[in-house]
Assembly symmetry: C2
Homo-oligomer: 256 residues x 2
Amino acid sequence: MRILKEVYDSRHNEFLPQFSVECVILAFNDNVLKVLLRRVDMGDNWILPWGLVHKEEDVDETAERVLKESTSIENSYVKQFYLFGQKDRTDKELADKILTTIQPKDAENHWLRSRFLSLAYYALVEYGKVRMEPEEGEELSWFNVDKLPSLFAKHDQVIKIALRTIRSNIGYVPLGRKMLPEKFTMPELRAIYECILGQELDRRNFQRKMISTGLIIPLNETLKKGAHKSPHLYCFDKEKYQELLDNDQELVRIIL
Amino acid sequence: MRILKEVYDSRHNEFLPQFSVECVILAFNDNVLKVLLRRVDMGDNWILPWGLVHKEEDVDETAERVLKESTSIENSYVKQFYLFGQKDRTDKELADKILTTIQPKDAENHWLRSRFLSLAYYALVEYGKVRMEPEEGEELSWFNVDKLPSLFAKHDQVIKIALRTIRSNIGYVPLGRKMLPEKFTMPELRAIYECILGQELDRRNFQRKMISTGLIIPLNETLKKGAHKSPHLYCFDKEKYQELLDNDQELVRIIL
DNA sequence: CCAAAAGTGTTACCATTACACCCATGC
DNA sequence: GCATGGGTGTAATGGTAACACTTTTGG
């Protein structure tokens, strides 16, 4: 558990106190959305990957670091979506575990026990690119977003709010670009949107709309996969796409 | 300056350290959007109303308190929209001013000097209900959002992002409900939307759309005002409205 | 009487929706 | 051959946009 080491290294005043960053890391595989969760010492409860903010680190960098520590992925996409700041929000159980392990001198009144503010991010990653390297005693695993295990604190709420946030901003979120491989098929892209929206979308209309954005380039290749007609492969026009993303412009208009 | 008192009262460890809440308080008057700013000791720069988070206080409560302290308004509408967490974000100038005034024993290394995280809220208030009660040496004043004075730090950016956030969520933000008096006219309501969107909207289509939400009740009164035909007065169906708001549902669909 | 602002109704248009039909593949 | 999934075209629909005319009021 990385945080243990960091705190233990008596660098605990290298962090901003009473503040953490947690990441809802999302990927798409097997036609469902997955979220990455962590468990320590085979405990009962899973938890979102999280971290503390170094004193010389932007909070966005913290989120990128947390993402990298759990997935080995860099330069992907992280976006803050909510600061959870209720006064009773604290991971007492977790603090106990950490503090009894590392036994700092101020364990009794250590700030880890006190109230926490948590800034939540969602991250979109390509499932196939993820390389998990859990630490000793740590476990990392994907879960379907609609079949979550027992979670610490109210982390299931955090995940729900992440999904709702993405849903309500769906036209601005680079779902396909960040969750699909370089080359992808239209049914795959559509499936992501259907998962997020929780409803089916018309095949043909979806395709038309996506093509009409001008952000998607058809390739002269098909994907041989199932026992059916091979779907075409596409890729994104990365430059155009990035420009819209950088300026917070709408990528595609989805109306519900 | 309230914060001075609070810190001075040696209750400085009653706050979460290195964390502040700042409010972009918006109102509508004279057909333009106004933002409330604060200035201390007739200094050169204005600043957004802000505050520290009490240890036993939700961050939302802090925002409500900051709003109340500057406008006397309670039970209005505050919404967090972004946490500013760059590593170089600190109000050195402000910290100096506070610390030289109150001279705490740990002034040199006081956490007020260190890096700050700021959670930004926007608040929507009814202009006519605002009662400013500035403290000694403190000044409060409205400014047109497009004619801002010189601001501390990057607070003009914060205001811009607040407006952009509202714009991109425009259908979900209770603009009229929170910024207009009990009874209002359709041209007034439209003017707010035009300010936020930065473009004119067709009178008739706007009216139709608003009425069709079912959230607006026409009254059998008109407002006698200018040298023109008196516009009808309307009020909101508060119950229906609140229900949508509570469930994060769309109030009205504005398409651009 | 005129200018300015507000109320109401109607039409044209375009984007979304809802389909139907054909093609490719593996069993 | 057939079931399944993918590709493409078209007609119907419904909401939005554009606009004309009337009414009211103060100067």
